[in-house]
Amino acid sequence: MTVQTATMPQSSRAGALVDVCAVTDLETERGRAALLPDGTQVALFLLPDGAVRVVSNCDPYAGANVLSRGIVGTRLVADGTETPTIASPLHKQVWDLRTGEVLETHGREARHLPVHAVEIDGGRVLIGEAETR
């Protein structure tokens, strides 16, 4: 599971982090894609509470890099909390932005999303490696 790591001392993870943009480059509740040095694509989401969530940009059902262009929302999950979500613009599967868990498969088998650790430092967004569930 990803944790919002803004309070974590930066040095402990420095090696794994990539600076992709400023927080102000992001738009609340609208994703942006970023390209990591190894060629993988991630989707970044700035939420209304100021948190930034990062998941893989690739829709695991369609195989296309489109998730940053989906609709951000929320969904009530089993523990009674509202979790932030992303819906694919292609066939509307929905994932939990905190955990990458697929919440709506539209009848397909479950395919979860890799999530990335994020740190915000000096207004910059730093992204860690994927943590697959």
Partner: protein, 866 residues
């Protein structure tokens, strides 16, 4: 005359002898209540003059809907109790108070310890000539209905045509009677002396909305008029009504619904105190001036008033039963809340509907388009609900009525929104709130029925508690409470728009319009919860575009759009986009074609003609969209909105300009229409077609609006559809001039946009329209709703406010940033895109092709080679 378990009056025993005169609804409730209070050895005689056991008078009209007389019968269990004797078809004719004996017309004698008068009311006839002619009726008993039906059958056979009928009195009963006459295929007029229908229950503004709803059902209304005479025809039966100005209205049948009068003559003759205007006087314990005589129901007058509703009668029945058992309960006074039961027309009034309380405030919501009018009356601090009027949509009645006199606990406007879902208080009603006033069932009792009695749905709760079993007006509320309790037990799923909004698109549209909100955040905070999803966000975007009309990418609202609207192109399976410039009417110049060709060539796009008579270019990457559109806009093209829930294309044939059969200029009209409606956002996409003659080469009848040229002008068809459920458009009007055609389409579209549901195309919308095509014609051509000025103005605003979304976006650097492929590499193409060649153009590579690598002719970094 029948008598069940009839015995001659027996010598007095130790049992308390009760005689009930009248075997109506209230008498029935009284007996039921008394028996439910224990095993005391009552001897109860119930004497009724109608030839049947007590029945549901409130549900009388359902007899016309095929409910047999037996189905109307009230629960027989209490009446078959050995302590009860029911006499039907016999009238009590004399009360000897000294000897405590009641005598009937069949000369039965009943001694009593307590006498209960429950004789109800009779329906009055006005004191005018001819009010008793054959063919005149009242509307009170099953016998009345049988007489009316028999008369209609016989008379229409005699006359060899459908009958014309008049209902005199436009109150609750009058409207029910009018609906019933219509059911008998009698062409019906309602005459009412007041300024508006239901003038005793609702205010004038509400009455006017109601008038429109009734007229829509083809019932004529004549207000502020009084008949002075019922005139007979040559055979002596009713032929016409005469009015003070000497005018006549032909009518083969008249039903009087001018009010009811308490059946108090028996009581008066026995020297019991009665009001001069009718009604046996009772105290808070339902006793008359003779302590051994009680009066309950419509015959009783409390505080100088008798009220023709069943709920106060039931309350009196409970009080009387309780008193007989030694209790102290008192009649709480009249609750005059009512709901009209005319199918398809929702009207309710409750509490202080006329805002008679000092300093009362009104909150009014009026929607002439949807045919609703709602008013809440509040205390001067706007906190306490005093009453209200609901017309056109009374779904909130069940939840509002129990709140009368208590705090509203929320924003009044939220209760007025057109929804039964919004009625926020539903689940929060206190346990002691009376939900069903007919049967005095509290919210707590209903909750208990689910939790303790194990009822699995609202119908079971109804059977178990009787909530909703009488007038039915509280049943929506009962359902909601039950639904909520079941959900808390994990038993049902919500059927709302999505988990964030409990409303439908139409309800939300009205809510947003009334509350004048302009952003998603305001809307969801007020009417929903959470932060939305892929269902409600685009819905709100569409609603706001209709009401506010900003650019799709302005402000926060940009985040509501699905990617297609967000980047103004259609996403394809690999994440690239298609580009569709508008080509109005399918017309394109050779220069235009050259530009399209060169753009497609430059950016390596696959090109194809669409089914909508224009050209689609596929395979454009996100960051290429502004570059491509710069070239297209510079060459005079604009967005074709192939992505939006908005006007798509107006398909046309060549028409009279070239075709040897054409009678009118189809292309000219198509271009005209496409330019007029371009960019118009709607609940679903809109398509039009224009054919130059009846051969219909443009397939116009497969469109939302089809226009077909004829010798005497344009014929307009509506509600056509291709796609999944094909349907031909139907003729709305013929022989229209250019201007008439455009005005009719303007109104049709605006009416649809305001009232259709999310993703409902015009075809199902037209099919569901109340009043069907005729109703639609009246709205559009006769302004039956009085909204045409509004609709015209809304369309004029659209036409004047149109701007090309793409041209505007290209001028705005902030919006252009959204087209960056990567936040950290704005122009770098998506490295995962890969294409192969097929029939000399590109197409996305399949997974196998990608994996083999061999056939790929173009990654995004390569130029396409042919």
């Amino acid at each position: 005359m029948t008598s069940r378990s009839h015995a001659e009056p027996s010598p007095s025993t130790d049992a308390h002898r009760i005689v009930v005169i009248g075997a109506g609804m209230v008498a029935h409730r009284f007996v039921e209540s008394l028996l439910s209070r224990g095993d005391a050895p009552w001897r109860i005689a119930v004497i009724g003059d109608e030839p049947r056991a007590p029945y549901d008078r409130v549900g009388l009209t359902s007899w016309f809907e095929g409910r047999a007389a037996e189905d109307l019968a009230l629960d027989a269990a209490s009446l078959s109790d050995p302590r009860v004797e029911l006499v039907t078809g016999d009238a009590a004719t004399f009360i000897d108070r000294g000897g405590r004996i009641v005598t009937t017309s069949a000369r039965r004698r009943y001694e009593y310890d307590t006498l209960v008068l429950a004789t109800g009311s009779y329906a009055a006839r006005p004191a005018i000539d001819g009010s008793h002619l054959p063919g005149t009726f009242v509307y009170r008993t099953i016998d009345d209905l049988e007489d009316i039906t028999a008369f209609v059958r016989q008379r229409s056979a005699e006359l060899g045509r459908p009958l014309r009928g008049t209902v005199v009195g436009g109150g609750l009963l009058g409207l029910e009677a009018a609906g019933a006459l219509q059911g008998l295929e009698v062409d019906c007029t309602v005459i009412h002396s007041g300024t508006h229908l239901l003038s005793a229950q609702i205010d004038r503004a509400g009455g006017e909305v109601l008038g429109r709803l009734i007229r829509e059902r083809d019932i004529r209304i004549r207000t502020e008029s009084r008949a002075t005479r019922v005139a007979p025809g040559p055979e002596g039966a009713v032929a016409a009504l005469e009015f003070p100005d000497g005018s006549y209205e032909e009518s083969d049948l008249v039903i009087f619904t001018v009010g009811v009068r308490p059946n108090d003559s028996l009581a008066r003759d026995a020297g019991l105190d009665a009001e001069p205007r009718g009604g046996v006087r009772i105290d808070d314990g339902c006793a008359t001036n003779d302590p051994s005589v009680l009066a309950i129901g419509e015959v009783a007058s409390h505080g100088g008033r008798s009220v023709g509703l069943v709920a106060p009668g039931y309350a009196m029945a409970e009080v009387a039963a309780d008193r007989l058992c030694g209790g102290e309960s008192t009649f709480p006074g009249f609750d005059e809340s009512t709901k009209l039961k005319l199918s398809g027309v929702d009207v309710a009034s409750f509490g202080d509907a006329f805002a008679a309380s000092p300093n009362a405030l009104d909150v009014v919501f009026s929607d002439p388009v949807g045919g609703t009018y709602k008013k809440l009356v509040l205390s001067d601090d706007a906190k306490t609900l005093l009453g209200g009027v609901l017309v056109g949509d009374a779904s909130a009645y069940g939840s509002l009525r129990p709140l009368v006199g208590g705090p509203l606990g929320g924003d009044p406007s939220a209760y007025l929104m057109p929804s039964d879902g919004v009625a926020a208080p539903t689940g929060d009603l206190p346990d002691e709130a009376i939900v069903c006033s007919c049967s005095s069932v509290t919210a707590g009792r209903i909750r208990g029925a689910v939790h303790e009695d194990g009822c699995a749905d609202a119908d079971e709760v109804k059977a178990c508690t009787r909530a909703g079993a009488t007038c039915g007006s509280c049943f929506v509320m009962v359902k909601k409470l039950v639904g909520k309790e079941l959900t808390s037990l994990g038993k049902t799923v919500s059927n709302a728009l999505c988990e964030h909004f409990e409303m439908s698109r139409r309800q939300l549209f009205d809510a947003v319009r009334v509350a004048e909100l302009t952003t998603f955040t305001q809307i969801i905070e007020r009417f929903g919860h959470g932060r939305g999803c892929d269902v409600c966000k685009p819905t709100v975007a569409s609603i706001l575009s209709g009401l506010v009309g900003e650019h799709v990418l302005d402000g926060e609202n940009a985040t509501l759009q699905d990617t297609n609207d967000h980047v103004m192109a259609n996403m394809q399976k690999d994440g690239s986009y298609s580009v569709v410039p508008r080509m109005p009417g399918g017309e394109v110049t050779p220069e235009g074609l050259v530009v399209i060709g060169s753009v497609a060539k430059k950016y390596g796009l696959y090109t194809k003609l669409t089914g909508g008579q224009r050209i689609d270019m596929f395979g454009a990457r996100l960051e290429q969209l502004p570059l491509i559109w710069r070239e297209l806009v510079d060459a005079g093209f604009e967005s074709g909105q192939a992505y939006g829930k908005s006007l798509r294309t107006v398909k046309s044939c060549v028409g009279s300009t070239w075709c040897r059969y054409g009678v009118l200029d189809a292309v000219g009209m198509a271009v005209n229409l496409e330019l007029r409606y371009r960019g118009l956002r709607s609940p679903h996409k809109l398509k039009l077609g224009v054919s130059g003659c009846a051969r219909e080469c443009a397939e116009a009848r497969g469109k939302d609006v089809g226009v077909i040229a004829a010798e005497n002008g344009w014929n307009m068809y509506v509600g056509g559809n291709g796609g999944f459920t094909p349907r031909h458009a139907e003729l709305l009007s013929e022989g229209l001039s250019n201007a008439e055609l455009i005005r009719a389409i303007d109104r049709f579209f605006m009416y649809y946009i305001r009232t259709a549901d999310r993703l409902q195309r015009t075809a199902p919308w037209v099919q569901e329209l109340e009043g069907g095509l005729d109703g639609l014609r009246e709205v559009i051509f006769e302004d039956s709703l009085g909204i045409c000025d509004d609709l015209d103005a809304a369309m004029a605003r659209h036409v004047a406010g149109y701007q090309d979304e793409w041209a505007a976006t290209l001028e705005d650097p902030d919006k252009l940033r959204r087209f960056h492929s990567f936040v950290n590499a704005p122009d770098t193409p998506d490295p995962s895109l890969a294409y192969v060649s097929e029939r000399d153009q590109v197409r996305p590579a399949s997974v196998e092709e990608r994996e083999s690598g061999a056939v790929i002719i173009a990654g995004t970094t390569l130029e396409v080679r042919r």
